[in-house]
């Protein structure tokens, strides 16, 4: 396990993140997703969920949670804990040590029966994961964004949802999940971060006591670079119908540039000028000029090299909104970028990068980018590169960007004008 410690006195808490990453794969995506749900139910020392949660409460309400997501072609499980710095409360036990001990138990010493996960926990958490997968449809903004990506990447691992596949769930047993967990723990890249009023030496000692791992575990060859597929000759349009009031127009673009590339800062500028901010082309033209939408924006997955566009529009305005968005993509290719757009976007990106320093978890996630990509780039270096990116470099990015998929989620009865 690789340790990353960020000593600082700025916060009233210790922030802890453990990243466990494996390649995104059809055969393991669901068991990997289910694992943290079962791990959060209890540990060998505190096997009952109720007692386990009381233990967290007694650490002054230590926050514990996990996220499962895709970065590039990796499936990442991020465990998060934050616990307050002892100096603010009259606590008998050192809270950082207690929090790391608990996290170590959760990940490496879970509650078992007959040498495998407890059947009751596995059954309940299968149900929970099933509900989570089925609930994706509830939030139409996210649903449209994820459907667009799934259509676009239908021939790549990236099509898989980070939470796995519904069809896999019935076939998972306590035994098979425990085997998968052991395999996952043996194979995953493990990166433990602590930010707060501590030192590397202290965390080294605490982590060694807290995690039951082989010394070499979790520090493998690192993450592989994501494959970036080719776009189709012509963009593909996918239209889906659901019971909705508002239509969701999304687009997926392949940029062929990743976090580790020299051109990455220019790609950030491209995304910012196109749709990252309220001064960007999409917001100005779709919302402010045409009054077609409340939101119209673009977003980047820098590790996968995919840029996506999302907007919520009147269903009848599909063609008009599409035409306006395509015109913005074209104007990026033609280099129609003003000095003002450049300076505003530079200022906004630089500001975001500087603001990260005020949040322990944001500092941690930024640093994890370098682990994921194998490219170390400090925030200050990225800011200098952003400052240096000019229209020519941004047009070079625009030349590589290919529109792959247009996705439209529409209501049942509305008519297309």
């Amino acid at each position: 396990m690789r340790l990353h410690v960020m000593p600082t006195k700025r916060f009233k808490t210790f922030a802890i993140s453990l990243y466990a990453g494996v390649p995104l794969a059809e055969s393991s995506v669901t068991t990997t997703a289910l694992t943290p749900f079962v791990l959060r139910r209890g540990t060998q020392a505190t096997p009952e969920t109720l007692a386990f949660r009381e233990r967290l409460d007694n650490l002054y309400g230590a926050g514990f949670g996990f996220d499962i997501y895709k970065r590039g072609d990796a499936q990442i499980v991020q465990f998060r804990m934050d616990v307050i710095n002892d100096q603010f409360v009259s606590s008998g036990t050192p809270l950082l040590a207690a929090a790391l001990k608990l996290l170590g138990e959760i990940v490496t010493d879970p509650a078992l029966e007959d040498g495998v996960f407890r059947g009751k926990y596995v059954a309940a958490e299968k149900m929970t994961l099933q509900k989570r997968l089925e609930a994706i449809i509830n939030d139409k903004i996210r649903y449209a964004a994820e459907r667009c990506l799934a259509e676009m990447c239908r021939n790549e691992p990236y099509r898989l949802h980070a939470l796995g596949k519904l069809d896999d769930l019935p076939g998972i047993s306590s035994e098979s999940l425990y085997d998968a967990y052991r395999g996952w723990l043996g194979q995953a890249e493990l990166d433990l971060y602590v930010a707060g009023d501590t030192t590397l030496a202290e965390v080294e000692q605490l982590a060694a006591e807290a995690f039951r791992l082989e010394p070499s575990a979790g520090a493998g060859a690192g993450y592989a670079r994501s494959e970036v597929g080719q776009a189709a000759e012509e963009p593909r349009t996918v239209i889906e119908t659901l019971d909705v009031s508002q239509g969701k127009l999304n687009m997926g673009l392949r940029t062929h540039i990743g976090y580790a590339d020299e051109a990455y800062p220019a790609l950030l500028m491209y995304n910012g000028i196109l749709g990252g901010y309220p001064h960007s082309k999409l917001f100005l033209n779709v919302r402010e000029k045409a009054s077609l939408a409340y939101y119209a924006a673009s977003r980047l997955d820098g590790h996968k090299g995919i840029c996506t566009i999302q907007s919520g529009i009147e269903i009848a305005n599909f063609e008009q909104a599409k035409t306006i968005i395509l015109a913005q993509l074209q104007s990026m290719k033609e280099g129609q970028i003003s000095e003002l757009e450049l300076s505003q976007t530079r200022a906004m990106i630089s500001n975001q990068l500087r603001e990260m320093q005020d949040s322990a978890f944001e500092m941690i996630s930024y640093d994890f980018n370098s682990v994921l990509s194998g490219k170390s780039r400090t925030a200050a270096e990225l800011i200098s590169a952003i400052e240096a990116a000019d229209v020519e470099q941004i047009v070079q990015v625009a030349d590589k960007v290919e529109l792959d998929t247009i996705y439209f989620l529409r209501g049942k009865e509305a008519q297309l004008a």
């Binding site: 700025r10 109720l50 002054y60 309400g61 529009i313 906004m348």
Partner: protein, 428 residues
Amino acid sequence: MKTLAYPVVQETLYYEQMPNGLSVYVLPKKGFQKTYATFTTRFGSVDNQFSLPGEQTTRVEDGIAHFLEHKMFEEPSGDIFATFASQGASANAFTSFDRTAYLFSATEQIPANLTTLLDFVQNPYFTDENVEKEKGIIEQEINMYKDNPDWRVYTGLIDALYHEHPVHIDIAGSVESIRRITKESLYQCYRTFYHPSNMLLFVVGGVDKDEIMELVRHNQASKSFGESPQITRLLEPEPDAVKLPIKRSELAVSLPKMMFGFKETVLPADSEQLLRREVASKLMLEALLGPSSKLYQQLYDDDLISDSFGSEYNSSASYGFTMIGGDTRDPEALLAAIRSAIEEKLATGIAADDFERVRRKRIGGYLRMLNSPETIANEFTRYQFRGNNLFELLPLYESVTLEQVNERMREHFRWDQMAVSIVDKAKT
């Protein structure tokens, strides 16, 4: 400038009231890169009937406070987002039941950004044309929320609880009500509620308190606002009973969503009571229904709730209610199970060790919240408008007793004061 020291949480706040009535608070955060500033008026969606001395009562359109928030960003020189962007600041705004806040965060050009914030909010520019143009945008915002099941179940419950109190009206209004909004009605609300004496500026981050205060003093001295309006906010009398015992709607969802809540009938006498009631109510909900309660675990084991289950307490001087619920396969069974568990607790009371545990948890949550400049600014303003102080919550959490929480529970859970809101799965 006054110095307000809170040694327990290691924070020092600086305060000054400007001659025009504006309240200014500065909270320096050592080592922070960012400055976050909010400029907030005590004008929210509930302020829909008001009068000034010698004037007739005005009843404004639903959604006007939110509409005004949108329109403030337009200046004769163009969109103010562009100005903030040029100065490296990300700007935003939000409208809630009781206030409208304008804000930015930035790491550079703080004087310029603070000046922009003060100037754009203090310079309304509405035309017939720009008001018309905004209607299409807000209509899409309303439609976006219409498709959001969490929002629908939430607003549905408040609508079921209240007959008259404007808290039951959607903050954004309706497509019909916003169509009736004119530049004249916007200016009228602006003149009434955007006087500096009705507003609060909060600046937090790696700032120098003297520089900030000096900038605000100069900025405000250069403008004239006239006399502070003596606003009377009017509320129709609210019956004790809930409006509807149950309210249902349908959307494309994977499972039904259900929330239920209890309407307070006795309102707190003053802000001190309001705050004590809020603290006791939150501890009560956490002890009864929090993720480490026996009830939560039992409902989870019975597959009646998922991780989406939660509870909250909402209150002001003129309303108060709980909200409890989440996704469930069987709303009726969930409600019945919670009801019988609460009745049992009403008889036995909350156990002492459960109470101590949730108290610890909430103290930890409170301290953790103080890491976030955004939350500090927003919560401080919210409490201040109600006459409370965010930085004085810790002693309250430490001094509240189990007896008080048990009493709160017996006073709050009255089944004839309950309403239920359900978003069902749309039939396909």
